[in-house]
Amino acid sequence: MTPISRRGVLLGAAALPLAGTALARPALAQTRYPVRPLQLICPWGAGGGTDATARIVASLLERELGQPVNVVNRTGGSGVVGHAAINASNPDGYTIGIITVEITMMHWQGLTPLTYADYTPLGLVNRDAPGVQVSASAPYKDIKALAEAIKAAPPGKLKASGTGQGGIWHLALVGWLQAMGLKPDHVRWVPSNGAAPGMQDLVAGGIDIVPCSIPEARAMLDAGRARSLAIMAPQRDPLFPDIPTLKESLGVEYQTAVWRGIGGPPKLPAEIAAKLTAALEKVAKSEQYAEFMKSRGFGMDWADGAGFGKVMAETDKAMGEAMRAAGLAKS
């Protein structure tokens, strides 16, 4: 009789549950997904706007799916690490992530080979257009006056800020200048660590324009220290109805936005994707979600998987053009 070694018993004990799940999982996954908690990867740090959006979506998704949805912040590499983690996860529907507009920008700069095509889009949940903010003490009454002043000024005299070099608001400015027939560097970009320091510098008199999203500028607008002259969107924002669009006030056809959406790794099975998209639609149209987005001032928007894919493709093209024009693209 062979003595039963301790190691053998341990190995057997370890193998049992593995064998069990391996047998049970495919069968269950097909019949009633999800049977265990989901993971929602957020490529940005805890406490920020994307994190807050991810958490509210996760808590409402949990109710729809009947399984816990845990938000995991995978930060680092200026968003590259988290986006790569979403792409590399197992396509079983148990790991999804919040994808941000940076995915359409980073590959042009040569920071990562990943593009928007490396994800299964599930649903767009937020979109915010930039406004054109100036200091309250600036002489420009409206966007026309500012546009005239920009055209009249020698290149590089006026300065703008609100994010880092090559960041989303920098590209918004580049796109707007080009739409007006000006050179992309006609207004010089001053890099900053985000919109809040940019707005502060605007009020301190260091710069002239901050083209950041209106919720980011909101506190200074409310305080009467800054004014928003126009919004780079197809229509006015219902939360800020007094700010005209670029088209109606200046006759310039230009629009851009930051967005956030939920996506999964490539080759996510169609029935799982359909189920997630259906649940996300209920989340995005729920009262609690509307209440949360309104309180943060974030723009509500919904598009299903195919629609989100289209938004990503369009943004990717526009970003590529703007970045090439500004000399920021590598490929």
Binding site: A52, T75, G76, G77, L111, G164, Q200, D201, G206, A219
Partner: protein
Amino acid sequence: MSDLIDGFIMVGQMDVLVAILLSAIYGLVVGSLPGLSATMATALLVPVTFYLSPIAAVATIISASAMAIFSGDIPGCLLRIPGTPASAAYTDEAYAMTRKGQAEMALGIGLWFSAIGGIVGTLSLMVMAPALAEVALNFSSFEYFWLAVLGLMCATLVARSSPVKAIASMLLGLLFSCIGMENPAGAPRFTFGMTDLLGGIEPLPALVGVFALSEVMRALATAEPPPLPRRKFGSILAGQWSLTRRFQWPMWRGNVVGIIIGVLPGAGADMAAWVSYALSKRFSKTPEKFGTGHPEGLVEAGASNNASLASGWVPALLFGIPGDTITAIAIGVLYMKGLNPGPTLFTERASSMYALYIIFILANIIMIPLGILMIRLATRVLRAPRASIMPVILMLCAMGAFATGNNLFAILLVGFFGVLGYIMERNGYPVAALVLGIVMGSMVEQSFVTSLIKSDNSLLPFFERPISAVLATITLAALLWPVAAWLIRRRRRAPRRPAPQGG
């Protein structure tokens, strides 16, 4: 007046009081663990605030962050491992007091003067918020540049080793801060094609590495230090009142400096502690005692970092501009709870504002009894054998580093900085100066480059703008003073030297 009463009623709600108490305990525990910062403690609270009433939600953040900044002093004092970056400036001093058998005094200073700093900071918020906010709004990148340079100069003032070695460590820290693409050009530097380096080197893994991990390595390599004599742990608050009277002037200076630095967006409790500790040494009557377990610097810096915490809320509440990383998170919570930052918060929702003030004061008062309990529990590590403490610290280092981004790379960074810190310490290079360089590096570069872009490459605005000119004068004076002093000394000695030759 009725607003004030309403404020008291709002804070008096059961859910608010329970939230304050629980988040205070949470903040004390998180802050005292090496590798988990006050910012981390706050960020982890955000999902919890979804389920709380507006006042309770803000209360959790206020009390947890205040407690975490104080309790970061505890491991620094007992084990020479700062719990938060804000404690790094005076860790050596506090640890020296512990080795002298004055642990209760050192921890008591941290507790007592943190509470005072917090309360004074709150009073400044109540009385002068609009005026302080105006000051903050006048700061542009030109002023920040001088401020950052002044901050860097603290490295040489604080260090006990040779100034040359301190400057070398600081420059190494600046070099590390160049890594990544978070620079004005947005170009990846020194990343060697590694995605993980794109985001740059965060101060936290560096801090944990050079302080905590290298301490563990030292423990492996050296014999156990003679155990501290077993004795009854004395009263924590005894003697604090006489210290308050003795170091009244440094305490007030710490409070004022903390308030000013806190109000400025982008400079938080970390910088307040550094600047105050350096000022304390510079203006002390007995600077030679610094670093040997002298309470003066602890008094000033301990008051300063908690004062800055309260005044950091001024720009956040008035303009939605974060004063530091903690208020950056708090602003999101304020919006979510309908307490939108802006001047109207002070007029139309005055009762909510009073409620916030009361919570600040309350949190700083309950800090004292809860802090005493925490200190009593924590001092048990002094009696535990080193062999059982060091593995726990090693695990906490790894956990804390991982928790910031769920990224394994942070643990590798801790390992790297641990080895680096160990080598530096053995050769007499102060590691605190390295951390300071990493913390301040991006601010120096960012403010300098953006200033030049704004001024079309002219250096004049650095000296032209009024606040900038004042800061420039202080900086240059502080830079040139040692040189001038050295020249004067030489002059005085010079005439004597040629005399023998002539005779």
